[in-house]
């Protein structure tokens, strides 16, 4: 049955791409964090839906991980860090929003063209999910390069990982090993980041990565 099941999966994946776009032009960290929480929530729904459609109960675990860790725990903790650092009211100068959005549109178009053309033979479910997933990944990458703030870079990285989870769950019957590992790696990554943010704060009194560039080891 291709009709409704397919449409709902499509709708959820499309919403993820839309939310990735919304992340691109947020100039306040708290707003960005809210969008990211929403992003993770939609991912959880999407994974849950895949679990239902594919009749793969282990995917519910992945959905639960996305819901609990990425939509609740991580945003709460990051919010705390932001407040503690006193940068929650700061407005981040995002250079050239118009240009970034255009680049984003280009990336989405690119992923559609590439995936849909290349994967003609594959299962349409996986195929369209994959196209959206690649778009989310590329938008996450774009966000990481267009931001200077360490917290926004981290959020960009996590929405990139959301795209990976979307791709992994869209691929039918992909072994559990990978899904758990993805979720797990995000957790590890987050701990690492937590330590780093703490240390950066300790040493620099700022989380602006631009400040780090002053200490380029290679300049005499």
């Amino acid at each position: 049955m291709r009709g409704l099941n397919f449409d709902i999966a499509h709708f959820l994946a499309g919403t993820l791409v839309l939310l990735s776009f919304m992340q691109l032009y947020q100039d306040r960290l708290t707003a960005l964090l809210h969008i990211f929480a929403l992003h993770a929530l939609v991912l959880a729904l999407s994974v849950g839906w895949q679990a239902y459609v594919q009749d793969a109960p282990h995917l519910y675990v992945t959905a639960a991980i996305a819901l609990v860790f990425k939509a609740i725990v991580i945003p709460v903790v990051l919010r705390r860090i932001i407040v503690r650092l006193g940068i929650h009211r700061e407005i981040e100068t995002v250079g050239g929003i118009g240009l970034t959005m255009l680049a984003g549109i280009g990336l989405v178009a690119l992923s559609m063209v590439v995936i849909l053309r290349v994967t003609g033979g594959a299962d349409p479910f996986a195929r369209e999910d994959l196209a959206f997933a690649l778009a989310v990944i590329l938008l996450g990458l774009l966000m990481m390069v267009s931001r200077r703030n360490a917290v926004s870079q981290v959020i960009g990285f996590m929405s990139l990982e959301n795209g990976l989870v979307l791709a992994a769950t869209g691929a039918k019957g992909m072994p559990l090993v990978v899904e758990i590992s993805v979720a797990f790696s995000i957790l590890i990554a987050f701990i690492v980041i937590g330590i780093f943010l703490f240390r950066i704060r300790e040493r620099f009194d700022t989380v602006d990565v631009g400040a780090l560039d002053r200490f380029r080891g290679d300049r005499a």
């Binding site: 990944i137 990976l164 691929a171 990978v178 290679d218």
Partner: protein, 481 residues
């Protein structure tokens, strides 16, 4: 369970247990000793695998290709742990590290060894990816261990770029699964490498091509290929020197190994693109770019990090070129580079400790102030520069001649890059060895053992390669196509 099965398990279990133990050992001297012992036993277990292969398994397997890597990895892991023991004693004395740092450091060292070994013996592309990710995270933590401005910046840069690379590699892995799934069926089997390679001929070539692009970009970032290399010099320069040695000697190789596995997969499929041109171009660009960058370095560890980019470029170029001879040369070059570069970092670690700085401007007259160290360093640099009678000369000569016979233009670019790099190495070597000695302090002498162990192998390989080794490398070269 046969001896070989036990050996494969030991290669994974020993470092994992040691990591757990080291995290709780308060005394750093005992910690360092346990670290060395664990690395030694891991190496002995890996050496057993040379004699006997375990039966095929859905999780772990050993073939000619990963046998080369696993032997090399465990050996360099062992010698580096010996070097590390003397290195950290000095760091502790001057107060750059505290005993608590060291507990963490030793536990991370063994976790890294575990991850590297797992990536090498995994028979599952998902598992392999997980292992490379763990290796990345542990090295990020170790690069940042000094907690200086530079160390934090390097660790952050490495973390961000490494994660992006790892993410792209995962996407590529998912695509490989998607290509395999219609043929092999949904489920675990579609990620088992031996099954994949047996049936790859009937996979959808389009998806496989796309997957390879992502895998090349993803694992290529970890190999340090230009223009994806930006993390590498910082990570090498700012972390503890033993970590620079394992980064250059081992982690880059493991990423390359992952890429080679997928290259074999593509070679099996008649409709897939040839990975050769991409790898040749990235390899040569890395070589020439890094060779020029060598001239502008002011930091000795950064300098040799660029030299690693150069050599990984050569190796990627060789494997990209393919064919029995070029693959053989690539394999030899990779092995020799691992041994020589880690030997150089052992020497550089001691030099930086003796002189109290990593800046070239303040390192002069080493031949007067620390003659034996200067001698060892000079030998290692001569070896890495590709002069006879060392092994790298043999590998580069083989590669140059086989390239010249097939693609003269590529050989010209290759030779040009080598010459440029050679010039930089010799200029810097003179700077360090001669001139008015800068102030320095004596360092304990027993610690040059790992360095000479490496150089002895590199020298022996340059003079004579034993027949069994040649046959083994030839088998691998054939496998790589």
């Amino acid at each position: 369970m046969s001896i070989a099965d036990a050996a494969v398990m030991a290669v994974l279990v020993i470092p994992a247990l040691a990591a757990g133990l080291l995290a709780f050992l308060p005394n750093y001297r005992i910690g360092a000793a346990v670290n060395v012992a664990a690395a030694l036993f891991t190496f002995l277990a890996a050496a057993l695998l040379l004699l006997q292969r375990p039966a095929l398994d859905h999780y772990l397997f050993i073939d000619d290709l990963n046998n080369v890597f696993i032997t090399l990895t465990t050996f360099v892991g062992f010698t580096t742990s010996v070097f590390s023991a003397s290195y950290i004693a000095h760091e502790l004395k001057i107060g750059r590290l505290t005993p608590i740092n060291l507990r963490f450091y030793h536990a991370m060292y063994q976790t890294l060894m575990f991850a590297l070994n797992l990536a090498l013996v995994a028979n599952n592309i998902g598992l392999m990816w997980v292992a490379v990710e763990i290796a990345t995270l542990t090295t990020v933590l170790m690069v940042g261990i000094y907690r200086t401005h530079e160390a934090l910046e390097a660790a952050w840069k490495y973390f961000i770029l490494g994660s992006v690379g790892i993410a792209l590699a995962l996407f590529g892995t998912i695509l490989v699964y998607l290509a395999a799934q219609p043929v092999i069926g949904a489920g675990f089997d579609s990620m088992v490498w031996t099954t994949l390679v047996a049936r790859a001929a009937t996979f959808d070539a389009g998806i496989l091509n796309l997957a390879f692009i992502f895998l090349l970009l993803g694992y290529g970032t970890k190999i340090g290929l230009a223009p994806l290399h930006a993390w590498l010099p910082d990570a090498h320069a700012e972390g503890p020197t033993p970590i620079s040695a394992v980064l250059s000697g081992l982690l880059l190789n493991v990423a390359l190994y992952a890429l080679l596995r997928f290259k074999i997969l593509l070679a099996v499929n008649p409709n897939a693109i040839a990975p050769a041109p991409l790898m040749v171009i990235m390899g040569l660009v890395s070589l020439v770019f890094a060779a020029f960058m060598l001239y502008r370095r002011r930091d000795i560890k950064r300098f040799f990090a660029y030299s690693s980019i150069e050599h990984m470029g050569i190796v990627t170029f060789a494997f990209g070129l393919g064919g029995a001879l070029a693959n053989f040369a690539g394999l030899l070059q990779m092995t020799m580079h691992s041994l020589t570069k880690s030997a150089i970092f052992f020497a550089v670690g001691h030099i930086a400790q003796a002189k109290g700085t990593q800046r070239f401007a303040q390192i002069h007259g080493l031949s007067e102030s620390n003659p034996s160290l200067a001698f060892a360093f000079a030998l290692a640099v001569v070896a890495i520069a590709g002069l006879p009678p060392f092994g790298i000369f043999k590998a580069e000569f083989l590669l140059a001649t086989s390239t010249f016979a097939r693609e003269p233009w590529l050989a010209a670019i290759f030779g040009f890059g080598l010459l440029i790099a050679f010039g930089a190495l010799i200029i810097r070597l003179q700077d360090v060895l001669f001139g008015k000695p800068s102030p320095s302090e004596a360092i304990p002498m027993a610690t040059l053992f790992p360095l000479y162990a490496h150089l002895a192998i590199v020298l022996a390989a340059g003079i004579y390669l034993p027949q069994p080794l040649v046959r083994w490398f030839e088998a691998v070269a054939k496998m790589l196509g």
